[in-house]
Symmetry: C2
């Protein structure tokens, strides 16, 4: 592994991680990890459904064979739910922690869920965002005990406000860090945030909140780009350099605040990058990581 | 006019205003104002291009004939620009103030603009959101002097973060109110905010910031709904009641904070409400204003 003390994201693709959703349409997880390994990519971040499709054991073997680090595991969360689903929410999240630990992930990324009818289908419809947010806090509090036992840090990912209803009702860094402060006041390292530039680049408080997070709370850093126009709320993310986000500026804030992890590329791109050959996408990620990120 | 002191938005469509973009595809401004008047709607908020299409004099006559109040005039703004366009930006915004005054609007709504290449096409491309924000502040500061002379309050409209690049880089109530505090520390009434539930419903600070705004800063209140799924970033707004926004809760905060203006319906809806007959849309706005807002 490269030396964390002297690291610089830019110009060195040993600091690049590939979130495997970026090429999820082009192959299964073992194929993706193999393609990453052959290119000298040192880290990945897989999704649970991709792991389930090949089986956890095969995924663990592919990670070990490639000597890959895991910059994160996607994902736990989806806490708001009808009370009758409490056991389902708890057990599902505990399994995510166990899988993340088996794979050796740096953290389990939490997409916390929005209103209960979208977070856990079958829950009664609600417009009570404040209640959903309190359910998120309760859910993380409960999971945190389990995750501490497993030695698995939890990374709350604030999602763009356009996902507040259906994916995550934690929508700013300040809100995520307030949660961290209440649930882990000692800054133990067990709870922090995943900073995805796509979700937070617009935030007038972004620099201040990244500095507030500091080394103990900065658990993951995700990159892609915001396209203008954006044609789909979920599946039209851009390759770094093709949009309007000043990624080097944000990366600078993250590094200055003590983050020493990977720069993880996560692109959902129906109709563009998902339609290209896997090798072309990965090569482009490497090239853009050198030239843009 | 109804009595402002005892007003309650709900159940009384004298408190309803129609932003004329809601039926912009179905007729010209004079036809829209006439249709509103015939239904007992007491207020409207026209757009500049709709006024220009019929001529300012005809628009003023239609407003007077219908004894209509103007809950706002849309819109000034689009401040970030190449310095060579400074005079264009200034003059364009001064004309907007003059038109708003001629029409008797309660306020001129400001959509402040995003990055300069989108705010004022022809400006060089930039990713510097902080610079765009400082240009917005300078632009509002300059316009405010002119608007004070004209007696026309300026209402900064924080737009949803998904528009940060191309429409408005003021994206939260807190950010808009910080601007107000710096440019009008005396809370003179000359500068405030337009609260559109579509743009701000997700904000964890919303209640606190509405209370912070208070009567002097709350200049306009816009309603529609957030649909799940939303199929277009701009043109898929929902009719009140068809989405997930808890409008009565937000309306309560606004009223408790001293707002005494109209509840203005503003819906951009390609493929749905824009395709229906004008009368049906207006009748639905009245009915939903009674039952939902």
């Amino acid at each position: 592994m490269p030396d964390f003390k002297t690291r610089d994201f830019s110009g060195d693709h040993r600091w690049l991680s590939i979130n495997t959703a970026t090429v999820r349409k082009q192959g299964d997880l073992v194929e993706i990890l193999d393609a990453c390994t052959r290119r000298g990519i040192r880290a990945v971040a897989p999704w649970r459904d991709q792991v389930a499709a090949v089986g956890l054991d095969a995924a663990v073997r592919a990670v070990r064979t490639g000597e890959l680090a895991l910059s994160g595991y996607c994902r736990g969360g989806m806490f708001p739910a009808d009370p009758s689903k409490a056991a389902e929410v708890r057990d599902d999240n505990r399994r995510a922690v166990d899988e993340a630990a088996a794979l050796g992930a740096v953290c389990l990324v939490l997409v916390v869920g929005g209103l209960p009818q979208y977070s856990r289908p079958g829950s009664p419809a609600s417009k009570d965002l404040a209640l959903a947010r309190s359910q998120v806090e309760d859910g993380i509090a409960e999971l945190l005990d389990y995750a501490r036992e497993a030695g698995m840090p939890l990374a709350i990912e604030p999602l763009h406000p356009m996902y507040a209803a259906d994916r995550a009702c934690v929508n700013t860094m300040a809100q995520a860090l307030d949660l961290c402060d209440r649930l882990d006041p000692g800054r133990s390292g067990a709870l922090g945030v995943a900073v995805d530039v796509y979700h937070v680049w617009w935030d007038p408080q972004l620099e201040a909140q990244i500095r507030r997070a500091g080394r103990e709370r900065l658990l993951a850093f995700h990159v892609c780009d915001w396209l203008v126009p954006t044609t789909d709320l979920l599946l039209d993310r851009g390759m770094m350099g093709d949009g309007v986000i000043d990624i080097p500026r944000i990366r600078g804030w993250v590094e200055e605040s003590g983050f020493t992890g990977f720069s993880e590329v996560e692109i959902f791109s129906q109709g563009n990058w998902w339609e290209k050959p896997m090798g072309e996408v990965l090569d482009t990620c490497i090239e853009r990581h050198r030239s843009v990120v």
